[in-house]
Each structure stands twice: as structure tokens, then as C-alpha cells.
């Protein structure tokens, strides 16, 4: 069965080094994590929220750091177009070195992951990370923006 995905996804921004003063998203915002002990495939993952509805933004912004009352994504988030991801990363999607999935977790039905094959060459993983950062730069929302809570899809 083919899984349905929305047109956009959200990537939470945790550290100030994720965004430059000019609001460009840097490669620091895109790190893949090795959670293969919890997976049956050979992918490393990076958390995202699928923007199925406006509620996805609220859930992301309200998410707390584990064991703390501080927000998990204290800088803000970037909205990324799936069409751009498919266009820019087409070769990596074709050979399945890059993929994505839905993976709802408790309290976050929008949760999912971007995936890269774990033993991929470092140069290719870098290219994927820089590509994602470039796509993310198109639509950045910072907590310091006064109207962030009213931001909806373009």
C-alpha cells in the first residue's frame, strides 16, 4: 500500500547555529541519527513533522525537551516542500539512498523521519544535508517572529 504524504513537512530548529542572521538555514540543522537498533532496515533517521494540518505546527512548537519544560525547538522551524525535495534529491530517491516515512509517536501523530542509508559515503550524506538546508531556507519561521503562532501554509 502506498503511503500518502502532504505537500509540506516541518523541520524543527533547535540551536542558534541552525539559522544565520539573514535567516538562511545552515547544514547544522540537518543531522541524521543512528537509531538502527530500533529499526529493521539500514537507515539513519532525522525527525520531522508531516504538515497534514495546521495542528502540526502547534504540536511542533509545543513539544518540550525531554525531562524539561523548555521547548524542544527553541529557535523555530522550517517548512519544506516535498516537491522541492523530490526534485533536488531525485537521484538519491531513485536509488533509495534517501527516503522518508511516517512514524507517529505518543502525543505527535504528525511525526515522521527523513532517512539515509547508514553506510552511505560521507560525501553523499553531506550533499543530501546541504540540499535539505537549501530547501529549508525557502520558508523559515523563528520564535522571535511575533506572529509565529498565526503562521499557516503559504
Amino acid at each position: 500500500m502506498t503511503m500518502a504524504y502532504p505537500e509540506t513537512l516541518l523541520r524543527g530548529l533547535i540551536t542558534s547555529s541552525s539559522v544565520t542572521p539573514e535567516r538562511y538555514v545552515t547544514v547544522d540543522a540537518f543531522q541524521f541519527q543512528d537509531f538502527r537498533k530500533n529499526r529493521s532496515d539500514n537507515y539513519n533517521e532525522m525527525s520531522i513533522n508531516w504538515e497534514d494540518s495546521d495542528e502540526a505546527v502547534d504540536v511542533l512548537l509545543k513539544q518540550k525537551k525531554e525531562g524539561s519544560e523548555d521547548p524542544q525547538f527553541k529557535v523555530g522551524f522550517a517548512r519544506m516542500s516535498m516537491a522541492s525535495i523530490k526534485d533536488v534529491l531525485r537521484p538519491h530517491i531513485s536509488d533509495k539512498s534517501f527516503s522518508y516515512e511516517r512514524k507517529p509517536v505518543e502525543g505527535n501523530p504528525f511525526h515522521g523521519n527523513l532517512l539515509v542509508v547508514a553506510n552511505l559515503k560521507g560525501q553523499i550524506i553531506k550533499n543530501i544535508r546541504y540540499s535539505l538546508a537549501t530547501i529549508a531556507t525557502a520558508d523559515v519561521h523563528l520564535r522571535s517572529d511575533e506572529k509565529i503562532k498565526y503562521l499557516k501554509k503559504r
Partner: protein
């Protein structure tokens, strides 16, 4: 030390310049000094200003920055505004990230000797999407720097952005 300057230069403050000296003994047993004076880049071309170059421990990165600086010196950038590069330090080595609104260029220098340069474009208005990278060899630094400068200049001009 007295330095005879060309007539078109009134005076210079050597503190503002990068200088190096080469000394030799001539046929009359007199010491001759050759002073190489390199003017600093104009402000609009100082794309490495936000980088603490002295903290970089891989010599190839210094060579690349020098090659890039040399190319910048010879490139007409009067019609574009160039952004500053950003240094990313990782376990593998260093990366230089050059970000613009719709595209970016990056240079990666791994401690194991693998160097790459990459280009990414996500221009939804023109429908131009690309992402690729190439391995770099040290002897190619000047050529790669020139190509990157041309790429960035063309993209800034095409999109009317900085």
C-alpha cells in the same frame, strides 16, 4: 627600511597590507631586499571575514582560502553583493558553507584527505533544481574557485538577489 614607491602611490601604511620579504646578496656584496606587498581585498570581496582562519588545522583549507582570495582579487564583483562564507567544524574536518537565498555552494575538507565541492539550487520560481558535488584536488583549487565565483555571480545576476 626605506622603500622606493611607484610615483602613483603617495604613501602606504604597511600595517594595512600583507607583506613578505626576500633578502639576497648581489654581485657587489650588497644586500638586496625584495618586498612583496599584497593589498587587502576590498570590503565587498572579504567573504572570509567571519571565519577565524587561524583556528583551522588542516593546511589544505588555508591553501584553498588563499587560492579563492587570489581569484576574488581578479574577479569583477561590482554588480553583485557577495555573502560571507561560514565555517563548519566537524569530526571529519572542516566545511565552508556559502549560502544564498535559492542556492548554496559548499567545500568540504576531510582530515583523511577527501575534499569535495558541492552545489545545490532550489529555485521554485525558475523551476531550476540541482544538487551535485565533485571531488577536489589541491592543484584544482584555483580553477574551482574561479568556477564557483562565476557560478555565484551568474546566479546572483539571474535572480537579482544577494
Amino acid at each position: 627600511m626605506k622603500i622606493k614607491l611607484p610615483s602613483y602611490i603617495d604613501e602606504i601604511d604597511l600595517d594595512d597590507y600583507v607583506s613578505s620579504h626576500v633578502y639576497s646578496v648581489n654581485d657587489n656584496n650588497k644586500i638586496e631586499a625584495m618586498v612583496n606587498i599584497e593589498a587587502p581585498l576590498p570590503v565587498e570581496k572579504r567573504i572570509f571575514d567571519n571565519i577565524d582562519v587561524h583556528s583551522i588545522k588542516i593546511p589544505r583549507v588555508h591553501e584553498f582560502i588563499q587560492a579563492f582570495t587570489d581569484q576574488l582579487r581578479n574577479t569583477d564583483t561590482s554588480e553583485v553583493t557577495m555573502n560571507k562564507m561560514k565555517l563548519v567544524e566537524s569530526e571529519e574536518g572542516y566545511e565552508l558553507e556559502w549560502i544564498y537565498s535559492y542556492f548554496r555552494v559548499y567545500f568540504s575538507f576531510d582530515a583523511n584527505g577527501d575534499d569535495t565541492c558541492g552545489f545545490v539550487e532550489n529555485n521554485t520560481e525558475s523551476g531550476s533544481f540541482q544538487s551535485f558535488f565533485h571531488k577536489m584536488k589541491e592543484k584544482e583549487y584555483p580553477l574551482i574557485a574561479k568556477k564557483c565565483l562565476d557560478f555565484v555571480k551568474n546566479h546572483i545576476n539571474d535572480n537579482g538577489l544577494s
